[in-house]
Point group: C2
Chain length 363, copies 2
């Protein structure tokens, strides 16, 4: 209840995971959120869940967030532009070139439309999975275009900042080629890898480990949604998949004759390129950059962690997250806690004064 940057009513169209999460996040800041969905059942679930209130004839939203599947995004945006002539409209679809082109072709008032895309999601969809904090710390792309006045972009930035996300400005074309690389192609590849498990023996899959689980996790995503995303960004996806296939052919050639001179070197170079590629991905702690992490050594005996947390509570500090790790047999465990950056140093000082050993602390 710190107040929002956004001024006026916000209308959210589409009460799925993203729309309901936008509603929950803005309502927590005191914004008057109107929620709408083509399905009365979805709508009433989202309202029960606290994502917003039902529409009224007197509504006059400042901002409309369209959170519907990619295939219908342009037509819903066009309808909202026509129905609310004072409102700025954005959408949250995973593709950005196609909706803008469709809106232009349909003669919509694109001077009041700016596409956007929060890089956030969960494996489960629907309002029931929505969270007010879904966007915190995540990038949220805003795709400006020539027909939009610069001042309007500030309204979308306010939305993004209100929801705790990081605004990233790029063109629709830059967006689509970027997400092809970091999201759409990985989806295709994980899917094709998981597909190879069909028809394998139980004995083989019983040997599965974390590596296979990680490489295929996103293959459990919703096919209906992904057909739309891949179809709408086909050219960018194809371009990267062709490079992937050329590289795959290289590996196949080397593995077809692994003892031929040069074959091992060719495989090693691909593996080294993979090392270099994965090193380009921003680190996991980038996700939690709003919090400071403190790692405290804790004796592995009943009650020690409770004693630590009691002292943290007595210091008046609320933990945002806590993770305990220890190896059976080891004599100490490590408690990694997340706290707001402004209390980090004070807490470290108080814990050290109380005799705790701090293994590390960082922002």
């Amino acid at each position: 209840m710190n107040g929002s940057r956004i001024i006026g009513q916000v209308r959210v169209v589409g009460a799925g995971l993203l729309g309901a999460s936008v509603g929950l996040g803005l309502k927590a800041l005191g914004v008057d959120v109107i929620v709408h969905d083509a399905s009365p059942a979805n709508l009433s679930l989202a309202i029960d869940y606290g994502a917003g209130r039902a529409a009224r004839d007197t509504d006059n939203p400042t901002l409309i967030v369209v959170a519907v599947p990619p295939d219908v995004t342009a037509s819903v945006v066009a309808a909202e532009l026509a129905a609310f002539s004072n409102a700025l409209v954005t959408d949250v679809a995973s593709v950005k070139v196609a909706p803008l082109a469709e809106l232009r072709a349909a003669g919509a008032d694109v001077a009041r439309y700016i596409g956007s895309h929060p890089l956030a999601g969960r494996e489960r969809g629907g309002a029931i999975s929505a969270r007010a904090d879904l966007f915190i710390g995540r990038p949220w792309v805003i795709t400006a275009h020539d027909d939009i006045p610069a001042a309007q972009i500030g309204i979308i930035e306010d939305l993004v900042l209100d929801l705790g996300a990081a605004p990233v400005t790029m063109t629709a074309e830059q967006h689509d080629s970027s997400v092809a690389l970091v999201s759409h192609v990985p989806q295709v590849i994980a899917t094709l890898l998981a597909k190879q498990l069909l028809g394998s023996t139980e004995a083989a899959v019983s040997l599965s480990g974390q590596g296979l689980r990680d490489t295929t996790r996103i293959a459990s995503s919703d096919p209906e949604l992904w057909v739309q995303i891949l179809g709408a960004n086909a050219a960018d996806v194809v371009q990267i998949l062709r490079r992937f296939r050329d590289d795959l052919d290289g590996v196949l050639g080397a593995l077809d004759a692994p003892t031929v001179p040069g074959a091992r070197r060719a495989i090693a170079e691909v593996l080294a390129a993979g090392n270099a590629g994965v090193a380009r991905i921003p680190g996991k702690h980038g996700q939690d950059r709003r919090f400071s992490q403190i790692v405290i050594m804790v004796d592995d005996k009943p009650g020690e962690l409770a004693r630590l947390l009691t002292e943290i509570g007595q210091a008046g500090v609320n933990m945002e997250d806590l993770r305990l790790e220890h190896s059976p047999g080891a004599e100490i465990g490590l408690a990694e806690i997340s706290v707001l950056p402004e209390v980090e140093q004070r807490l470290v000082d108080e814990l050290e004064a109380g005799g705790w050993k701090i293994a590390g602390a960082w922002k």
Copy 2:
């Protein structure tokens, strides 16, 4: 110190991650572990780290575990068979057909050799990363063959059970085709996917999310080791990679003309096959099957979690792991704790008697 199933001395050759972890695990059971490494520096590090003692002229091991890179596995096994004529020898390499074939070709005494392979590992290698609990709950394949007396297999099973792993018996051929599917092909695919990130813009990789991180994590593995693994299992890996490439060509064909009738259906079918494939992988909680999970609802205010953990400590229960999740703004958090199965019900009863709400408990 509950005593081991293994009787007699165990000699571990190769003091890397797997060898040192075998040593640590067996020493914790009171086994006399001899550790050896071609590198004096590695050897002395492993001994300092507690993985075993240095060899003596009077050593007479019952069992020898060869934990060296795949390329040199057969020659080291042959040398150990020759040097210790009373010992049974196993290895832990990720490929099993090639070492056995090489040993046979060299005329080694394969009646005293059974290959094996623990499906365990970490991203970091070396004795410094070794853990006594590395193998707990993991499958450990034992590859029997015609020249090995059945009684000898029992000795390897004792080793596997002593280290907390689950023995899985299959032929060397079944092993190699299984790990091609669940380990070697995922390694190649993750590597090729990560390779596509080279040359991309900073803006593009700044949009990376958990999906890309998961699909490419194993691409950071050691190229030198993986060249050996892929080279030694090339035929099995190629067979699956060709199927993968055929499927990829199908997707490329559909995405080349996504509006042609049938294209969307073809993509949807591949995505659905990916869903079905990933569903075949045993669940994540399978890893932790030695522990029971209890999820407790905790009010989101300072001191509440400490009060919970104090009560768990007062009940005399030691937690093996703890994870706290809550959304900022939500009024409750969820504490998921792992405990030994035998104390689960008693702890649930005591917590409920103390007024705590249990959101779930399972083994």
